[in-house]
């Protein structure tokens, strides 16, 4: 609180933001609209991490084709994250295992974490936003 008192407008403050992506890319709008928040947060020069867990790991799956369900395919956005200096991408090992997925099935380079490692990473964050 004391450090915030000096920076009322928040200018220059860099916090650690984690975005916890738990939902499949399609079926609900959470993944698409969640991605918008991630990009805006990076534009505010914050320290951004993205975590993919539960069905959220499907967001990074290679070969997504949403033409059949007539909704926007935003899969390519994940590959563009690097251009926004968003390079900390983590996936949950247990979620990958439960779905028969390996890193080779994903469109971007990720760090695979155990539940304990994930817990430690979360503990380091200032803000965790879950979609």
């Amino acid at each position: 609180m004391s450090d915030m008192d000096m920076e009322d407008d928040g200018a220059g403050v860099v916090k650690k933001f984690m975005f916890l992506n738990r939902k499949a890319p399609h079926g609900t709008v959470y993944a698409l609209e969640g991605l918008e928040v991630v990009l805006i947060t990076a534009a505010f020069d914050q320290d951004v991490s993205m975590v993919f867990t539960d069905d959220g790991v499907y967001q990074l799956l290679k070969g997504i084709d949403s033409k059949g369900i007539e909704v926007k395919d935003f899969s390519k956005t994940y590959r563009a994250l690097e251009g926004y200096d968003i390079e900390k991408l983590y996936v949950d090992q247990a979620s990958m295992d439960a779905r028969g997925l390996t890193e080779d099935d994903l469109i971007v380079d990720v760090t695979v974490l155990s539940v304990a490692e994930m817990a430690n990473l979360m503990d380091e964050q200032d803000v965790v936003i879950s979609f």
């Binding site: 915030m4 920076e7 403050v13 916090k15 609209e33 928040v37 805006i40 505010f44």
Partner: protein, 119 residues
């Protein structure tokens, strides 16, 4: 302590908005402050003044408006999410305003806690 609140679900179908409201009201009663609530995803539907729930039910948007009027809570509705769902300035209940996602990020940067209510 300063709490920022994020509401990600619409009224009535989901309890998120009710829980967020009760959390905000209680935090204020306990001497904390809730400078802003941000409405995202279907949460933007909490902002319409056009809803007319039955007399014996709570009025979710009116309750938020009252909290804003009494405690100066800034009720911010995401513009992109609102436009997708037909929410604009013409239908906003008192105390709500439409703005960008930067207002959400600012809550995370400036406040002590950011609490999410959603699915």
């Amino acid at each position: 302590m300063q709490f920022g609140i994020l509401v990600n679900e619409g009224p009535y179908t989901h309890q998120a908005s009710d829980s967020a409201y009760l959390f905000a009201r209680t935090a204020i009663e306990k001497g904390h402050s809730v400078p802003r609530v941000f409405f995202y995803h279907d949460g933007v539907n909490n902002s319409t003044r056009l809803a007319t729930p039955p007399q014996d039910d709570r009025n979710v948007s009116a309750r938020w408006s009252k909290l804003a009027a009494e405690h100066g809570v800034d009720l911010v509705v995401c513009v992109a999410a609102a436009q997708r769902r037909g929410i604009n300035d013409d239908v906003l209940a008192p105390g709500f305003r439409i703005s960008g996602l930067g207002q959400l990020v600012e809550m995370g940067i400036q406040y002590d806690r950011l609490v999410t209510f959603g699915d």
